[in-house]
C-alpha cells in the first residue's frame, strides 16, 4: 500500500461530496456526413454505383465539350455516315466508337446529349414531386380529420393504378412539351412521397419531442417544419433516389412511345425508339447502346439508393 492511502480513508465514504455534474465524457463531434461516408465506403458495389452516377452526371453536364460532334447541328451531319457500325471512321476523320444512327449522328455524342435531357427531366420531376408530395403528406398527418382522409384517399387511389397509365393519360390531355411532361411525371409520382411523408410524420408526431414542443407551446407551423420535417427526411431521401430513377425510366418509356418530348429534345427514350426499326436489319447498335446507357444509369441510382436505405434503417444496423 502506498503512503497516500492513509490520508484518504474517510470514515464516511458513502456521503459523496459530489460536484453537481461530472466532467462530461462527451465524445468529440464527428461530422455525421463523414461517418456516413465511412460506412458507405464499406460496400464496394455501392461505391462503384456512386462512381458510375457521378461519371454519368459529369459526362452529361460536360457533353458539349467532350463529344466529338454536336449531334443536333445539322451542318455536322453527313448522310454518308448514316447507320455505320461501331468503330467506323467517318468523313470528319474521327472514330464513331458506338457507330452512327440513321441520320449519320455519332451515337456516343447523341447518348451523352440524351443523358442530359433524361437526367434533367428525372431530377426536376423528382424534386418537384418530393416537395408537393411531402407537403401534402405533412398537411394530412398534422391536420387529421377530414383533410387527412381526403388527401390520403386520393393518394391511395392513385397508388392503386400504374403510374405509366396516369402519365400517358395526362400527356395525351396536356399535349407534348417539357413542362407538360414534367407535370405528368410529378402527377404520377408525388403520391409515393405523400405516402412516405404521411407515414413517417404520423409516427414522428407521437414522439416525446413533439409533445415537448406542444408543451412549450410552439405554433403548429413551427412544429411541423422545424421538428417533424427534418426528422422524416431520411426515408424521403431514399424514396427520392428511387423515384428519380423511376422518373427517368418513365420519361424514356413515354418518349419511346412517341408521347414524350418533342423531336427537338431527344432523350434516351427517343434514341431507342429511333433505332428500333433497324433492330431486325442487324443494325442493333442504334437502339442497344442508348438502352444500355439507360439501364446503367437506372441500376446505378437504385444501388446508391439501396445503400442509403440500408444505412438509414436502424434495424439493419449492427
Amino acid at each position: 500500500m502506498t503512503p497516500t492511502d492513509t490520508t484518504l480513508t474517510s470514515q464516511d465514504p458513502v456521503t459523496l461530496p459530489a460536484p453537481e455534474a461530472a466532467p462530461a465524457p462527451v465524445p468529440p463531434p464527428v461530422s455525421p456526413l463523414r461517418a456516413f461516408w465511412a460506412e458507405y465506403r464499406e460496400s464496394w458495389i455501392a461505391v462503384i454505383a456512386l462512381a458510375v452516377v457521378v461519371l454519368v452526371v459529369l459526362a452529361a453536364l460536360l457533353a458539349p465539350w467532350i463529344t466529338p460532334q454536336d449531334p443536333y447541328d445539322i451542318a455536322n451531319l453527313s448522310l454518308m455516315d448514316a447507320r455505320r457500325p461501331p468503330g467506323y471512321v467517318g468523313a470528319e476523320g474521327y472514330t464513331h466508337w458506338l457507330g452512327t444512327d440513321a441520320n449519320g449522328r455519332d451515337l456516343l455524342s447523341a447518348i451523352l446529349y440524351g443523358l442530359r435531357i433524361s437526367l434533367q427531366m428525372g431530377l426536376v420531376a423528382g424534386l418537384v414531386a418530393l416537395s408537393v408530395g411531402t407537403t401534402l403528406g405533412l398537411v394530412a398527418a398534422h391536420s387529421g380529420g377530414r383533410i387527412e382522409t381526403a388527401i390520403m384517399r386520393i393518394v391511395d387511389l392513385q397508388l392503386s393504378f400504374p403510374a405509366i397509365l396516369l402519365a400517358l393519360v395526362l400527356v395525351a390531355m396536356l399535349g407534348q412539351g417539357k413542362g407538360q411532361l414534367i407535370a405528368a411525371l410529378v402527377a404520377a409520382q408525388y403520391a409515393y412521397f405523400a405516402r412516405t411523408a404521411y407515414g413517417a410524420a404520423a409516427a414522428e408526431r407521437r414522439k416525446d419531442y413533439v409533445e415537448a414542443a406542444h408543451s412549450v407551446p410552439l405554433s403548429a407551423r413551427r412544429i411541423v417544419f422545424r421538428h417533424i420535417l427534418p426528422n422524416i427526411m431520411p426515408p424521403l431521401i431514399v424514396v427520392a433516389t428511387v423515384q428519380i430513377a423511376n422518373s427517368i425510366a418513365l420519361e424514356a418509356t413515354l418518349s419511346f412511345l412517341g408521347l414524350g418530348l418533342p423531336v427537338t429534345e431527344p432523350s434516351l427514350g427517343m434514341l431507342i425508339s429511333n433505332g428500333f426499326q433497324y433492330m431486325m436489319s442487324g443494325r442493333y447498335w442504334i437502339s442497344i447502346y442508348p438502352g444500355i446507357a439507360l439501364i446503367i444509369l437506372i441500376v446505378a441510382i437504385n444501388l446508391v439508393g439501396d445503400q442509403i436505405r440500408d444505412q438509414l434503417n436502424p434495424r439493419l444496423k449492427r
Binding site: 455534474a21 462530461a24 462527451v26 414522439k207 406542444h214 412549450v216 407551446p217 405554433s219 413551427r222 427534418p230
Partner: protein, 336 residues
C-alpha cells in the same frame, strides 16, 4: 393549504377508437374489432398549492400519464378543466394558453429533437414567447445550463453526444427556460441508470429550493415519490383511490390497494431480513377497456363485499387522508 395554484377540476379523458367504414364492415362480418372507448381518467379533482410537490403514483394503464398531459396542457380533457390561478390552461379548442406549466418527460432519448443543437432546443421556446431575444439567447441559455449543472460550452452540441443523465438535464433546462411556475414530471427518473437517478432527484430538490417550483411528480416508484413529495395521490384504473400527506399515507395507508401496493414492493433488504416475505397483490389489473362496475379494485380486494360491486365509492376524509373505499363509509355490505 392556502390558495391552490394548479387546480384539476373534475377532469375525465376518454379515448375513442377511430372507427372506419372498414372496421364497421369487419365487425358486421364477425371480426373482433374494438369499438369501445377507453376511459383513461375518470372524474379526477386535485389542487396543488404554490411550492407544493404532489406525487402521483400508479401502475401502468392507471391514467397517471394521461392526467399529467392534461395538467400540462398537452392534451385536452373530454370533460372538466385544468386551471392555473383561476385561468384555464387550455382553450376548449385544444390550444395551450399558458407557458407557466412545463413538462419533463420520461425518456430523454425521445424527448429531445435529435436534429437540433442544445442551444436551439433551449432557446426556441423562450425566443418564440419573448422571454429573451434572439441576440441574447446565447447568454440566456448559458444561464439555464449553469442552473442544471451542465457546462456552457455544450450549446453547440447535439443530443446524441450526451449520456442519459445529461440529456435529462437538458430536458429539464428546456422546461425551466420557459420560466414556469409548475413542472409536470412524468416518470423523470424511470429510464435513467441507478447511479444517475439520485443526481436527477437532487437536481429537482435543488430547483425547488432555488426557484420555488410547484411539481406534479408522476412515478410508479414509491420510494422516489415518498422522498420528493409533500402529498401523494394513488391512482387505480383512472381514479384517485387515496390522497394525503406523504408521511401519513406511507405510515398508515387506508385503501386496500395502497396497503397492498406498499406491501408488494420488493424492498432493499440489507438487514437480517434478506429474503423476508413481501406480499404480492393477487390477480391482475383489469383491462381499462372493460373496467369492473362499482369500485375498480373490488376484483382483487381482499376486503371486497357486495356493495363494492354495486357502488362506486367517493373520496371521503378518512384519518389524515382522503380515501375512496366503502370500508370507511359504512361497510362493504349492501344497505338493506
Amino acid at each position: 393549504m392556502s390558495d391552490p395554484h394548479l387546480v384539476i377540476d373534475r377532469v375525465s379523458k376518454r379515448f375513442d377508437p377511430r372507427v372506419t367504414l372498414g372496421d364497421r364492415i369487419a365487425a358486421r362480418l364477425g371480426a373482433r374489432v374494438e369499438l369501445r372507448g377507453v376511459q383513461a381518467v375518470r372524474d379526477v379533482s386535485l389542487a396543488i398549492a404554490p411550492g407544493e410537490t404532489l406525487g402521483l403514483v400508479g401502475e401502468s394503464g392507471c391514467g397517471k400519464s394521461t392526467l399529467g398531459r392534461m395538467a400540462a396542457g398537452i392534451m385536452a380533457p373530454t370533460s372538466g378543466t385544468v386551471r392555473l390561478e383561476g385561468r384555464p390552461v387550455m382553450s376548449p379548442g385544444g390550444t395551450k394558453l399558458t407557458t407557466r406549466v412545463q413538462t419533463v418527460f420520461q425518456d430523454p432519448f425521445a424527448s429531445l429533437n435529435p436534429r437540433m443543437s442544445v442551444g436551439e432546443i433551449l432557446a426556441e421556446g423562450p425566443v418564440a414567447h419573448g422571454l429573451t431575444t434572439r441576440e441574447n439567447a446565447r447568454d440566456y441559455v448559458a444561464g439555464w445550463l449553469d442552473r442544471v449543472g451542465l457546462d456552457r460550452s455544450y450549446v453547440g452540441r447535439f443530443p446524441h453526444q450526451f449520456s442519459g443523465g445529461q440529456r435529462q438535464r437538458i430536458a429539464i433546462a428546456r422546461a425551466l427556460a420557459m420560466q414556469p411556475d409548475v413542472l409536470v414530471c412524468d416518470e423523470p427518473v424511470a429510464s435513467l441508470d441507478v447511479s444517475i437517478q439520485a443526481q436527477i432527484i437532487n437536481l429537482f430538490l435543488k430547483l425547488r429550493r432555488e426557484l420555488g417550483l410547484t411539481y406534479l411528480f408522476i412515478s410508479h416508484d414509491l420510494g422516489v415519490v415518498r422522498h420528493i413529495s409533500d402529498r401523494v395521490a394513488i391512482m387505480y384504473l383512472g381514479r384517485i383511490v387515496e390522497i394525503g400527506t406523504a408521511d401519513a399515507l406511507y405510515a398508515d395507508p387506508r385503501h386496500p390497494y395502497t396497503q397492498a401496493l406498499l406491501a408488494s414492493v420488493p424492498r432493499l433488504m440489507t438487514e437480517d431480513a434478506v429474503g423476508a416475505e413481501f406480499a404480492p397483490i393477487a390477480g391482475e389489473i383489469p383491462s381499462p377497456l372493460a373496467p369492473p362496475p362499482g369500485c375498480p379494485f373490488h376484483t382483487r380486494c381482499p376486503a371486497a363485499g357486495p356493495r363494492c360491486v354495486a357502488e362506486m365509492p367517493d373520496l371521503v376524509p378518512t384519518g389524515a387522508q382522503r380515501v375512496a373505499c366503502h370500508l370507511y363509509t359504512g361497510g362493504v355490505e349492501l344497505a338493506a
